[in-house]
């Protein structure tokens, strides 16, 4: 079994920042594992501007922001493996990994940093009633299909949720020639940044309805329409306000949840509020030597904050490893 001082799970901004910081703090033997074919995490599909204002004082695109860290990682000669999926982490820090070239392998680490990012909440989590046609998808999935695969996902679009990803996609899809008819937000104020409300909705005359949700989805094959309704103080749809809106696509931007499978497999306790691991001020979990940072810990709106957090995790993991010697 191969041994490392530090194994970082996830090659997004959190994992990259943590690995780089650990190296700066004297840890030699580091491995970063990433399931995708390239490093950078979710940033690779965020081709819009708005990253790095706080850390670098300039507006970068997602891939540009990621590239800075990937460069640094290479300069520091930190070992990394892409196309490598971590299947399991045991509580004594043995990782089961697979790679399509090298096959299945177990590796052992003195310390582990969890940086697997998050996933999007789906229709099921919201229990939206109605039929189950094609054309209902999450904003991140739509973003991947449009920006990475190069395909459009629909022509007449309604977006549920005013999170930043949904707002960014409202603009992106409009620029691709789709008609974004409406953005709905169940709360009485938008959840995304004001900047995005202005630049992604107002600049394109896309209406935003607050205190509204979707109470029904229609269409047997493809979405044909959605029923939109105002909500009462308990956030339940008010029947008398229902209005049917024709569309072929419903995009959900209704929140993110930390990716918890691996954390749980290692015996890491999960906070019922943040939905991420419970950590102390060193970002260390209840399992000694396992740390967490970035969206896997709690969902961050700004990547700059992820980076700052990742530096802490990298430094504290380095301290932990050095104290073992």
């Amino acid at each position: 079994m191969k041994n490392y001082d530090l194994v970082v799970v996830g090659g997004g901004p959190a994992g990259l920042g943590a690995a780089i910081k650990a190296r700066e703090n004297g840890i030699e033997n580091i491995l970063v594992l990433e399931r995708d074919h390239e490093l950078g995490g979710i940033l690779n599909q965020c081709i819009h501007n708005g990253f790095g204002l706080h850390v670098f004082n300039e507006e970068l695109t997602g891939p540009e922001y990621a590239e800075i860290f990937v460069e640094k990682l290479r300069e520091s000669k930190i070992e990394y493996r892409t196309n490598t999926f971590v299947l399991n982490i045991s509580n004594n820090k043995v990782l089961d990994i697979i790679n399509d070239e090298t096959g299945f392998e177990k590796i052992e680490a003195k310390a582990v940093i969890l940086a697997m990012g998050c996933r999007e909440r789906s229709r099921g989590a919201l229990k939206i009633p109605g039929t189950r046609p094609s054309g209902v998808l999450t904003a991140g999935t739509a973003q991947r299909l449009v920006n990475i695969n190069g395909y459009n996902v629909g022509k007449e679009i309604v977006i549920l949720g005013s999170g930043d990803i949904g707002l960014i996609m409202a603009r992106r899809l409009t620029l691709e020639g789709a008609k974004v008819k409406l953005v709905l937000e169940i709360m009485d104020k938008p959840s995304g940044l004001e900047r995005n409300i202005n630049q992604c909705l107002n600049d394109f005359d896309i209406p935003l309805r607050l205190s509204h949700t979707i109470s029904d989805i229609k269409g047997n094959d493809r979405v044909e329409s959605v029923v939109v309704a105002q909500v009462d103080e308990n956030l339940n749809p008010i029947k008398s306000t229902e209005e049917e809106i024709k569309c072929d696509t419903l995009i959900l931007s209704v929140g993110l949840i930390p990716e918890n499978e691996l954390s749980k497999s290692a015996g890491v306790l999960i906070d019922s509020k943040s939905n991420g691991p419970i950590v102390d001020e060193n970002l260390e979990t209840n399992v000694r030597g396992i740390f967490a940072c970035g969206n896997v810990l709690h969902v961050h709106g700004l990547v700059d904050n992820v980076t700052k957090e990742s530096y802490i995790a990298g430094e504290k993991a380095a301290d932990y490893i050095k104290a073992l010697a």
């Binding site: 697979i98 096959g103 629909g154 229609k218 072929d248």
Partner: protein
């Protein structure tokens, strides 16, 4: 000229076809959808009922009890997930007590083995999360759970391995009874056969009424469900029913063969045979009912909701047999619950019937009851994982993170007989998209693989039905 044409490839049509493939016959299956098991066989509670429920001496009682006993063998032969966790019917009051004793008696009459009546204390030892008001239960040791569409797909694959033909996207629109054969008209041309079997589920009335003067009517009765995450799997380990009362049948809380929890269904007669919508009020009703059986059901771990449509005939029983006025035309209609549980017995019975009508039929000497074993990456040992990735690196590429499904498994399920052609077809066979993220992560990747393996443009990959397109063209 075919010996037999089977209309419909749900669990019933698939089972009949597989039984017919034991004989030296030319068999053709016509299915209007783009996949096997896209009708009722896809959306049900997936239970293999013990058989105490049906009225003695009905078709339902006869086929259910026999069918139940046949599951172990067929699921072993075809590598289909099946378990016998046993089932419980809960009683909450004195009138339920009587019902439970009645069910017990009925079960004995129907020949159901392994029945016993439990008091609350015994029950709590089996199921600690049982509701506070439960006082008694009927326990049936033979109650089982199965992967219903997995079984239908495996049966059709095996039938095709043994020589049966399947035409998908082929809708029967008219039937002409000729001298000693049938002319079956479809949207894809005409086909002729000596025997015609009607296994068209909800539309079995339409098919029957095309040739027989003994008209039948099938009404859709909807049932809605919650499907909960595997994180809820310790909630119950058995199938938990409620005592049927005059006002309601009661809902079920049950584990699935894959470790999720299913809660439902209700039972509402509806008008539209294609209306599979879910409704907030009906789901709320189910939720409140279920909470009487089992405490603290984590409905916040819901991953999807769905609706199944029972094909209910006006006779109340399964309609199985040759139509009185049309020789060679066999109805298998009104197959509502316990149709899945009865499928093995119905398949055998109907295939025998067809063979008897045809007369002088030889056995298929090369019949193989097994299909090629599907490899489930997640179930392999560490060494086996290394081994298979060495042979085919596609098994080292994980496409679905929730269910840990590799690219190798997806390609395999597309390439088999009765293989997947759609995103949901892949999902039914090897489960990417079944997990808590509901395909958010894997869907684009599955579309890519389907497009590559079927050699069709990405835009032509469908989610499920023929017009359920996913992509609308290239970006600028």
């Amino acid at each position: 000229m075919f010996d037999v044409i089977v209309i419909g490839s749900g669990i019933i049509g698939s089972y009949i076809s597989r039984e017919l493939s034991r004989y030296d016959l030319d068999v053709l299956v016509l299915e209007k959808e783009n996949d096997v098991a896209n009708g009722t066989s896809k959306a049900n509670t997936a239970l293999v009922h013990a058989g105490y429920d049906a009225k003695p001496n009905t078709n339902m009682a006869k086929f259910n009890v026999l069918g139940n006993s046949m599951f172990d063998k067929v699921c072993d032969e075809l590598y289909v997930p099946f378990k016998r966790p046993g089932s419980l019917v809960l009683g909450f009051n004195d009138s339920d007590k009587n019902t439970i004793h009645d069910l017990y008696e009925k079960g004995i009459k129907n020949g159901v083995p392994g029945l016993s009546i439990l008091d609350r204390k015994q029950l709590l030892e089996l199921e600690p999360n049982i509701g506070d008001d439960v006082i008694i239960a009927l326990h049936a040791a033979t109650g089982g759970i199965v992967g219903p569409w997995e079984l239908a797909i495996a049966l059709m694959e095996n039938a095709m391995d043994n020589g049966v033909s399947l035409n998908l996207n082929t809708e029967v629109i008219d039937i002409i009874k000729q001298e000693s054969s049938f002319l079956v008209k479809t949207n894809q041309g005409e086909f002729e056969s000596k025997i015609l079997i009607n296994a068209a589920g909800l539309f079995a009335d339409t098919i029957n009424n095309m040739v027989s003067n003994e008209k039948i009517t099938i009404n859709p009765v909807a049932g809605e469900y919650f499907l909960l995450d595997k994180t809820a799997q310790n909630l119950v380990s058995r199938v938990v029913f409620q005592c049927p009362s005059e006002t309601s049948k009661g809902v079920v809380v049950t584990p699935t063969v894959h470790g999720n929890i299913v809660v439902g269904p209700d039972s509402i007669e509806i008008l539209e045979k294609e209306d599979k919508a879910t409704h907030k009020d009906r789901l709320d009703f189910i939720k409140n009912k279920a909470l009487k059986s089992i405490k603290n059901i984590p409905f916040n771990e819901n991953i999807t909701n769905f609706t199944g449509l029972r094909a209910s005939s006006t006779t109340g029983d399964f309609i199985i047999g040759e139509a009185k006025d049309v020789k060679g035309f066999i109805n298998v209609a009104g197959i509502k619950s316990p149709g899945l549980s009865s499928a093995p017995a119905i398949g055998l019975y109907v295939s025998n019937l067809a063979v008897n009508i045809l007369g002088d039929v030889k056995e298929n000497s090369s019949f193989n009851p097994r299909r090629k074993k599907p490899l489930v990456f997640n179930d392999l040992t560490d060494d086996e994982k290394t081994e298979i990735i060495k042979k085919d690196k596609k098994y080292g590429n994980i496409i679905c993170r929730c269910e840990t499904v590799s690219e190798g498994e997806i390609v395999d399920c597309i390439k088999r007989n009765a293989g997947a052609t759609t995103v949901d077809g892949v999902k039914k066979r090897v489960r990417p998209g079944m997990g808590r993220c509901q395909g958010g992560f894997c869907m684009p990747r599955v579309v890519e693989i389907l497009s590559r393996e079927l050699n069709i443009p990405m835009e032509e990959v469908m989610k499920n039905s023929k017009s359920s397109y996913i992509l609308t063209g290239r970006t600028k």
